[in-house]
């Protein structure tokens, strides 16, 4: 088995390019398929991937990327979910074993996850980062670490001075169903029933989105 992955990226726009750059930094071998000739020039100047100039929606162009010997194809064009999913399906017709990742432009992951191996929704990821940064710069004390699934996220909360739960021990505070303190941020200590929720200390919580607001009110006031 080869240690470095062979990856084909369709669409060398911002998403495709930044993805390629990260993968190239990790030492993987990349081919980018791009339609626009100016963009092809730009990508070729970066010298991180072989660039095929053509329409990735066409099987003949996809074949040039040597799908049979590639591990993954990521369709990251900005032409919408249907285009990207279509490219992935075509790729799989050419090389049955290839893994597929499609960029989508709306939130309905599950629909497509039956067809492709994974979906990315760049706008959602950007919104996630933006929301965190907005809270962060305004000293909000709550930060989403990761959305594990649609129904569970990991968040980091700093206990506010005058929050209802500040200074109380854990067994004295009643958390809503669907929220649990995982660890104290700095020490990494796991909570016990007598742990005091110190103001100014950050805790990591696993929370279901529908109770997030309740948890925030308890710990931030």
């Amino acid at each position: 088995m080869s240690k470095d992955l062979q990856i084909v990226i369709v669409g060398g726009g911002r998403v495709g390019y930044h993805t390629a750059q990260r993968l190239s930094n990790r030492g993987h071998d990349l081919v980018i398929i791009e339609q626009d000739s100016d963009r092809v020039q730009f990508l070729s100047d970066q010298y991180i991937a072989s660039v095929i100039h053509g329409d990735g929606g066409r099987p003949s162009v996809l074949r040039e990327a040597q799908l049979e010997r590639s591990d993954v194809i990521a369709a990251l064009t900005s032409h919408g979910a249907m285009t990207n999913v279509g490219i992935c399906m075509t790729a799989q017709r050419i090389a049955a074993d290839i893994k597929t990742v499609a960029r989508i432009d709306h939130g309905e992951h599950e629909e497509f996850e039956q067809i492709v191996d994974a979906v990315v929704y760049p706008e959602e990821l950007a919104a996630h980062t933006a929301a965190n940064d907005i809270i962060d710069v305004s000293g909000g004390g709550v930060r989403t670490i990761e959305e594990v699934t649609d129904r569970l996220e990991l968040i980091e909360i700093e206990i506010a001075e005058r929050a209802p739960a500040a200074g109380k021990s854990l067994d004295a505070v009643s958390f809503p169903q669907g929220a649990v303190i995982v660890a104290e941020q700095h020490t990494g200590a796991f909570p016990g029933p007598d742990m005091i929720l110190e103001p100014g200390i950050q805790y990591i919580l696993a929370v279901q989105p529908d109770v997030t607001d309740e948890v925030v009110r308890l710990l931030r006031g």
Binding site: M1, K3, N25, D29, S44, I52, V61, E64, E68, D97
Partner: protein, 484 residues
């Protein structure tokens, strides 16, 4: 998150000058000191023509390298391009022969180093033990030192290369400067002073000897493969890599022409031939101004130093080159995976280096210098044929691949490259071919061994087979492995 103008990674640290120097350094390095005598012995004064024609032949392959390097952004030289273009077994053969080329060149340069080293020290101190066994001993010591240096630190390569190469060129310019006025046409053609030289004097050994001499000395012009092993570190690679390839080739041919011309014109082909890998130093001793410097002629000492310095830096370059090929093959799963690992502490491709070193040491001990040179040249020629074929295949398979540099007058240059390289390869002795075939058979055993083991693992995991169908039976098997 950075802007789109982020610097590329690994850091693009080599400018056009540096990249050119990597190529010149590899081609001018030891070849000129080690091979001039060999060429003169076989072809007589026509040695001059040998180097010019070799430069011409290699130009076609250089064009192919330029096109591939500009389109495929990968370190690893010829092997990486073949891996991209051909099925796994062919890529294996390419890697396996390139690996050997570097190791054979390493042995050649190590032996060239030790005879010039003895010559240099003897200028000052006659007491240094010499003799065949000592000579091999010094060669081994040189190999071991440079392997250790490269095993313990990645810093040994890189930056200093440009300076080292400039020093080498500087010393050769001194040689040309003093030598050119001492050149006599009588010495050059090996005729009585005053007699008019004829064409047959130029081809004193016969015109047919030019081809075998070309085959033998072809290794001198394989340096641009080394440029291709560092392409990801070159600034503005799209423009600079093709330029670096052509400039380094042009400068190299020019310097060879002048140095070989001066050497033949001052010492004469027969004496050059018998001086073998010390030929250039012997020529320098004959004409350099006899200014004493610590008891020896400074001119001769300078050229002898140049020979020692050049062979040693070329040795360093091929130690790095050979380990990079073995490392790349290890990473691709074409050699045992261990070879594709870096050392947990030193960060160097340690196993690849050690494997290369072991074979280089054996080659240094057992192989006579002309056989080693022949082998390296033969594998270079065969490897270059495959590179030319890769250009043709890639144009057919991937017509839309962006090619910042396109070979002009395609398809003539790659076809000519194939044909001319093949002609030269045919003139290499059958003994060399036999050893070469032996090495390929060893490779075949390793390849089949590695792949049958892995194929079993794959089958037991009930993986499906590969979609690619290749006429070669072997390749379906190996492609299955890739899917694991």
């Amino acid at each position: 998150m950075g802007s789109e103008q982020d610097t590329r990674s690994p850091a693009a640290s080599l400018g056009l000058l540096d990249a050119t120097m990597v190529g010149i350094g590899a081609m001018i390095g030891a070849g000129i000191f080690v091979l001039t005598g060999l060429a003169a012995r076989i072809a007589g004064p026509a040695a001059l023509l040998v180097f010019v024609l070799n430069g011409g032949v290699t130009l076609f392959t250089a064009l192919s390298y330029a096109e591939l390097a500009s389109a495929i952004p990968k370190n690893g030289g010829g092997y990486a391009y073949i891996r991209e273009t051909f099925s796994a077994p062919i890529a294996f053969v390419m890697g396996w022969t390139r690996w050997f080329t570097y190791m054979a060149a390493g042995a050649l340069y190590a032996l060239g180093f030790s005879s010039n080293f003895i010559e240099f020290i003897h200028l000052y101190w006659g007491g240094l033990p010499a003799g065949p066994i000592w000579q091999v001993g010094y060669a081994l010591l040189a190999v071991v030192s440079f392997v250790m240096l490269n095993a313990l630190s990645t810093e040994a390569s890189g930056g200093a290369e440009t300076l080292v190469t400039l020093v080498k060129i500087g010393i050769l310019i001194v040689f040309i400067f003093f030598g050119i006025s001492a050149v006599s046409s009588a010495t050059f053609f090996g005729i009585d002073p005053g007699a008019a030289p004829t064409v047959s004097d130029f081809f004193s050994k016969g015109a047919t000897k030019v081809l075998p001499a070309m085959g033998l000395t072809f290794i001198a012009f394989q340096g641009y493969d080394l440029i291709a092993t560092v392409t990801e570190e070159v600034e503005n690679p799209k423009k600079n890599i093709p330029r670096a390839i052509f400039i380094s080739l042009g400068v190299t041919v020019l310097i060879y022409l002048l140095v070989v011309g001066v050497a033949v014109g001052t010492l004469g082909a027969p004496r050059l031939g018998s001086a073998k890998e010390k030929a250039v130093v012997e020529a320098a001793i004959s004409f350099m101004p006899d200014v004493a410097f610590f008891g020896a002629s400074i001119g001769a000492a300078l050229i002898a130093f140049g020979a020692v310095f050049s062979t040693i830096s070329a040795l360093n370059a091929v130690v790095i080159g050979s380990s990079r090929v073995a490392y790349a093959m290890g990473r691709e799963g074409q050699l045992p995976e261990r070879l594709g690992n870096i050392h947990h502490k030193y960060g160097t491709p340690y196993s690849a280096l050690m494997a290369s070193a072991a074979i280089m040491l054996v080659a240094t001990i057992v192989a006579p210098i002309s056989l080693v040179g022949n082998l390296a040249s033969l594998f270079s020629l065969l490897g270059f044929i495959v590179v030319n074929l890769a250009v043709i295949k890639l144009r057919r398979d991937q017509p839309n691949l962006n090619r910042p540099f396109e070979i002009p007058f395609y398809p003539a240059p790659p076809i000519l490259g194939c044909v001319l390289n093949l002609v030269l390869a045919i003139f290499i002795s059958w003994v060399t071919w036999a050893v070469a075939v032996g090495w390929l058979l060893v490779g075949a055993v390793i390849y089949v061994g590695l792949n049958s083991e892995r194929t079993r693992t794959v089958l037991s995991n009930t993986q499906s087979t590969d979609a690619e169908t290749t006429p070669i039976e072997d390749s379906t098997m190996s492609e299955t492995v890739e899917e694991d």
